[in-house]
Symmetry: D2
Subunit: 155 residues, 4 copies
């Protein structure tokens, strides 16, 4: 029934479906999207030994940190775009959000990535029609602030 | 025989051993270090569907791009530190290079990450005693330039 | 005679006129645009004591370095946009290029900014319709490489 | 009386003296340090036409924004270093803080730099022995958030 127009609720479900089902790397890393709304993006990641980046300490590889920060920022950008879409079919919607892409990102590694469960969040600091900028944060289950990210997305 | 002092050749082997055997995430992604020297770091990655980041195009997830760029820059930093180490045992050497860490990184995504084999290279643009800065590039097998990176490492 | 359509040569003159006459901060710093073409942007700056940023060494303030890098990248973005403009009057042209703006910039300070004459250059690494990314470099009169910049511009 | 050891109060005065009297570019731009303490850095800048960066709107040049953000972050780094210095003469203290330098900085331009009075603030997000990372913000007198900065400093 692709011709049915989407409700806002359906779009939110669709964003999460795209994230979970259509982006294989998210599943490969074990990224899990938290039930979210249009103004807030949150992603969780459980520790697994495959993600280790330092042989002497059990800490996340810097590439994992970069990946989760880029992903949560990209999710925030998708939600921002989705919010104002109307009268699209599911297919049109999927194609629209597939056009969103990262232009550039800065990651600041603040503390070693130790922990059992990691939470990444994003907020938008520049909301444009063509380009948006997000700030992202990564914390562990104890609330330790592990990294900051700042990324610019093409909408 | 950990008390034997390392030759330069042995240190180079050890850097590659740490990279391949002791950083699980490198293996998880499929990153392969190319035979290298102290002045040049090169890493290869073959396409696998797990690394896909866009459901409508077969392209690398931005997080993979960030991870390989951080990794090749970190490898360059390890080689730079290793070059001037003398009179260390293998264990001391491993502990010394385990202290190297990324402080911050910028990634510029230039073109979609399409390809079958990807090559990441790094060069040092600031060589300090405590801190080094690297520039990194990612190309595919056709020579298409996919991304730039710039990262600052604590030595 | 604002209704006259501009030639490419006239547009190039106009970009330089905007730069020199209409951006007071460029004059305030002493930035001088070099005779340029659509593919290359070069700016010069002569040392003056007002630009000093360190009381113990005669070196450029980091803010001056950031300013000249942003300026040469912005000039490159203007030239890139100008190249494809046709059938505009001088006023329309000025208004079009006034819309160009920096979204984000990274500066890497490589060496102390010592010298008598500084040259900043820019090249475009991502050429889009809406957004462009430039890399910039700052050298002194001896060819010493002082700083790198990377900036994303809204076109 | 350079041999007299400095009190914490005297060091704070000295940081401000260095900032105001010994960094000519700060005066040239009109940057004014606000009475501060060791945990917070605030700088003010009043509009002047020399700082204009856009001929069609009365807004700050992006280079000014970058300069004030780098400056307030550098001030925060000086205060952080000063806090733990003891038993230095004024000269030793000046020489110690003259060694602090910016390694890299990212600026995110969020909104046009309109206003009559601008305030830049900094906070430290990574506090190391050799390297520190600061986040900076620029607001105008109405509280409009104009720009973010993130910078890494060699201590």
């Amino acid at each position: 029934m692709q011709e049915t127009k989407l409700t806002q609720k359906a779009m939110l479900d669709l964003v999460m479906d795209v994230f979970d089902q259509q982006l294989p790397f998210n599943r490969f890393l074990g990224l899990q999207i938290e039930r979210t709304n249009f103004d807030k993006a949150t992603i969780r990641l459980n520790w697994q030994d495959n993600l280790m980046g330092n042989p002497y300490q059990k800490i996340l590889h810097g590439g994992v940190t970069a990946a989760i920060l880029d992903t949560v920022g990209g999710l925030m950008a998708m939600l921002y775009v989705a919010k104002d879409l109307n009268d699209l079919t599911a297919d049109e919607f999927r194609q629209r959000i597939a056009r969103i892409g990262t232009i550039d990102m800065r990651v600041d590694y603040l503390r070693p990535g130790k922990g059992e469960e990691f939470t990444a969040t994003a907020e938008m600091i520049r909301k444009g029609n063509k380009v948006a900028v997000c700030r992202m944060e990564l914390h562990n289950e104890k609330g330790t602030h592990i990294a900051f990210g700042t990324a610019t997305y093409m909408l």
